[in-house]
Symmetry: C2
Subunit: 285 residues, 2 copies
């Protein structure tokens, strides 16, 4: 299978490198051409002049961009040249609705689509240890498994098109709530004058224990907010969740609260910090 990779930024770049090391990568394309040129030279693959040109020469198109609009733009621009029975796999975090739209556009041209958002962040992309949550046809996933395995330590089939994005959305909602929980509790503890290192330690071992407390608790108390996972990106994801919930006629109070807090952080110039920067607001509202 010949593979093309569209969107070789902070996540897509290292992911494409793993696909190349697996012997699958044929071509790359990126909106900012310097990135794709440098990577293509480095990996000894083609730097395609357009998404269409890339799609015309591969069997599998991998996609890692930022927003819903970017995904649909790329799909539209590669449609005229997409080959019969090609497979497009989208790693971006977007809405289930966008995933279903992309799948329909491609199906009309005889091509397949999988939504496969990831968790594990930039470190996971570099180390090839991303977790992938996949929606689409299982038979299609089975065909591309060897490609995905170059980038991922865990690939979970969630169901029909959109189910990958839905799972990622649930994950992002939970991450927002846990960020609220940990930052509020630690700000409270600090105001109480506790030895916070001891407090983190003892709380981690009990029923309130969580990954975020263990990994980000100490750094947030020291005022270190290097990402990690950027406020601006989580903000974008939570707005997608909010839209999805609106379609379901459902309220997500923690998400509302967190979107508002993140907007304060972004306005204050902290959008590129780790999401644990929410501690700034909890400490000093």
């Amino acid at each position: 299978m010949r593979v093309g990779f569209i969107g070789v930024g902070a996540m897509g770049g290292p992911m494409a490198r793993h696909v190349a090391q697996g012997g699958f990568l044929q071509a790359v394309w990126n909106r900012t051409e310097e990135k794709s040129l440098a990577l293509a030279r480095d990996l000894n693959v083609t730097c395609a002049p357009s998404p269409a040109a890339l799609a015309s020469q591969v069997d599998v198109v991998l996609l890692c961009v930022s927003a819903d609009r970017d995904v649909l733009e790329v799909i539209h621009s590669l449609l005229p040249e997409i080959r019969q029975s090609s497979i497009v796999i989208d790693f971006s975090t977007v809405s289930s609705v966008t995933a279903r739209q992309a799948a329909e556009l491609l199906r009309a041209r005889g091509a397949e689509f999988l939504d496969s958002p990831v968790t594990g962040g930039v470190e996971g992309a570099h180390n090839g240890t991303l977790v992938m949550m996949v929606g689409g046809q299982l038979s299609v996933l089975e065909k591309v498994l060897p490609i995905l395995q170059t980038m991922s330590r865990r690939i979970v089939y969630m169901g029909d098109v959109g189910a990958g994005q839905a799972t990622k959305a649930v994950n992002q909602v939970m991450a927002a709530g846990i960020n609220q929980a940990v930052t509020e509790a630690l700000a409270f503890g600090e105001k109480l004058g506790l030895d916070m290192q001891k407090a983190i330690d003892v709380i981690s071992g009990g029923a309130a224990g969580n990954w975020f407390l263990e990994k980000r608790g100490s750094t947030m108390l020291e005022g270190i907010f290097s990402p990690g996972f950027k406020v601006a990106l989580h903000h974008k994801d939570l707005k997608i969740c909010r839209e999805m919930a609106k379609h379901l006629g459902m309220a997500l109070p923690l998400v509302e609260m967190t979107v508002e807090d993140y907007e304060k952080l972004i306005a204050g110039g902290f959008g590129n910090e780790d999401i644990s920067a929410l501690y700034r607001i909890k400490k000093d509202p």
Copy 2:
């Protein structure tokens, strides 16, 4: 050291049993006398007729009751008979202010006080695996360590009187937030029509992973809310946290939200269910 135990309910009962097995227990007292009578007979110790009578015959008084008022009531009633250099250790979850009041009352009579709230719940009390967060004088803690070790797998010295309660308060705030995070995210996922067992599994392995999701995620989806940790008790603890925050001039938005939700649950007759019953509200607000 001769030890007396006041308050032998769901927590105190099994805790007293461990102290007896360690060879320290001399007497018990309980507001509802049937409980202390049965336990005293079972453990072959004295069933004291009053807190004062109990205090008069031991070196160390252990205390495990429900609310701030109960703690102060017991302290007042044992004060006339407390022995010089006695040590009172309170396992109840109450406010730091109450802990400091208790310590002052006892100090005036030449006795010592430690606040030592616990985590680990009824299972931890039965298995002798509670975690204890201790405030007071370290030299006093060192004296009673062999007694505490009969009930606990981990004893952490947090600082001056009240520091144990402050740590427990931070833990309860975090637990409230995580309950909000997990129930909101899982209700969202279920509305999205996801295979929730798979979703819990994949989310548990990532940056949103937490104890509560792993232990209570599946049961809440099945509508099983057997405690665990009762809504009514967490509600009581969160009202203590709210008071403490008020003294600090600090807002705890997650705590406000959770107190309100718990009050709905209690009004609906669900106060004796596990705190994961918050899922009822998230699913059907």
